[in-house]
């Protein structure tokens, strides 16, 4: 019988909640206790659980499982000998930071995005990985990509077109959004309209800082991004981005964004105070929702704490499934809404720092 799970990748392990028959969510177990989990995910295509570990001492590790309890360590993606991040700086995997399957027509194809900016592809469900050369060899990479918050550029978003598995977007901090139409052989930037306040030329095609990119799965020409410099939306597949931030906030700075699966006018963000502070806006927690393509935003606060709050929600820590939303924060709080964010219930106030949140429907 299908079961609803909620996977939290946290600083101290993979924490799983499950939905009981009465509809309530309950803690189930913790895997990899003590180990930082940068991403926890479930691939519906193959029924595989994935956990990306970021051992501070021992490097990044990749694990997969068929049941979420018994895990197998695989060789994590590695940069080929001689590759460089920049001239004279050897490339090595610093963080496994994004996961996607390769499309429903290609079970066993998976992508992993990493810091320092390499995208890796497996066609054997993780037994082996290859660096996607077309992106790594992009002429802009060595000279125009750079780290934002981390030491080196990192791929945090991978979007595979549900109708064409050779059509993929990625988001890189800091470089911007790139698109391929041929399965990864050739890539081009798609950043027109973005404004990077931290660059001498804010409208530079390369060097933008999307924090996360998402899209309306039913209408993937409509894409959204929470950017370092605001919130942006495109209706033409990334050719032109429009700033849809609230000038006076709170929907402005943040990391996470979730696009409605079928309604291209609807998305959610979890705002924070801009880069130098990184705390909740006005020491209160809210999720902002737009229902008109970003023309207006509504702050949703019912059930969320409204005083003495410091939480930030990281980019992969807001999850959506139908009308359900869940997010986890830097200070270990986790919240769930069953009604599009109109009201929230507290799942946990004692988690470790939360890196990622994902709903999964498993057999």
């Amino acid at each position: 019988m299908a079961q609803n799970l909620l996977l939290f990748g946290t600083r101290k392990g993979l924490v799983t909640y499950h939905q009981k028959n009465n509809g309530n969510w309950e803690y189930r177990d913790t895997q990899f206790l003590g180990a930082p989990v940068s991403i926890a995910s479930y691939d519906q295509n193959t029924g595989t659980y994935w956990a990306f570990l970021d051992h501070g001492h021992w490097g990044c590790k990749l694990h997969r499982s068929k049941d979420g309890k018994n895990w197998e360590e695989l060789e994590a993606p590695k940069y080929p000998e001689g590759e460089e991040i920049k001239e004279g700086i050897p490339a090595s995997t610093k963080l496994l930071w994004a996961f996607s399957n390769g499309g429903s027509d290609r079970p066993g194809t998976v992508y992993i995005g990493t810091e320092p900016g390499g995208l890796f592809k497996s066609t054997d469900n993780g037994d082996s990985f290859e660096l996607v050369r077309g992106l790594w060899d992009h002429p802009s990479r060595k000279t125009q990509w750079f780290g934002g918050g981390r030491d080196h550029p990192g791929i945090h978003s991978i979007l595979v077109d549900p109708k064409d598995s050779d059509h993929i977007y990625i988001g890189i901090s800091c470089a911007g959004v790139f698109e391929t139409l041929d399965g990864g052989a050739n890539w081009h930037p798609m950043n027109h309209g973005l404004q990077a306040e931290f660059l001498p030329d804010p409208s530079s095609e390369i060097g933008q800082d999307p924090h996360l990119v998402d899209w309306c799965k039913a209408n993937p020409k409509v894409m959204w991004q929470q950017n370092h410099c605001g919130i942006y939306r495109t209706v033409d597949g990334g050719a032109n981005w429009a700033d849809i931030s609230q000038p006076e906030g709170p929907a402005n700075f943040g990391f996470a964004i979730a696009a409605h699966e079928t309604d291209p006018e609807v998305a959610w963000v979890v705002p924070g105070v801009s880069d130098e502070m990184r705390v909740a806006v006005d020491n209160a927690l809210c999720v902002c929702r737009t229902e008109d393509g970003g023309k207006t935003w509504k702050a949703l606060r019912k059930g969320l704490p409204q005083s003495a709050v410091f939480d930030i929600t990281y980019r992969h820590a807001l999850a959506l499934q139908g009308e359900k939303l869940a997010f986890g924060t830097t200070t270990g709080n986790a919240y769930m809404s069953m009604n599009n964010g109109d009201s929230w219930q507290t799942l946990n106030t004692n988690l470790p720092m939360v890196h990622s949140v994902e709903f999964a429907v498993v057999d």
Partner: protein, 90 residues
Amino acid sequence: MPTVKFTSNLKRFYPNLAPLRVKGNTVAEILKEVEANHAGLRDYIVDENGVLRKHVNIFIGNDMVSDRQTLQDTLAENDEVYIMQALSGG
């Protein structure tokens, strides 16, 4: 042959880890032998460029290795090599 001893922290991932006597004239060479005995363990100690991970230390006797990039410190017949977790984070 030098003997390699491991921090107990690595037993979390390799529960059967015990001191190993392995052939090798340099630290890099003995890490190859370590890998041959415990598949995947080398990845916990060095990155894909063979560079010692930031928070891992290797000692030969009481002396920390000087070459963290290519691990060319040389070993004598009866040296003991310690693979340790660096103290970091307080």
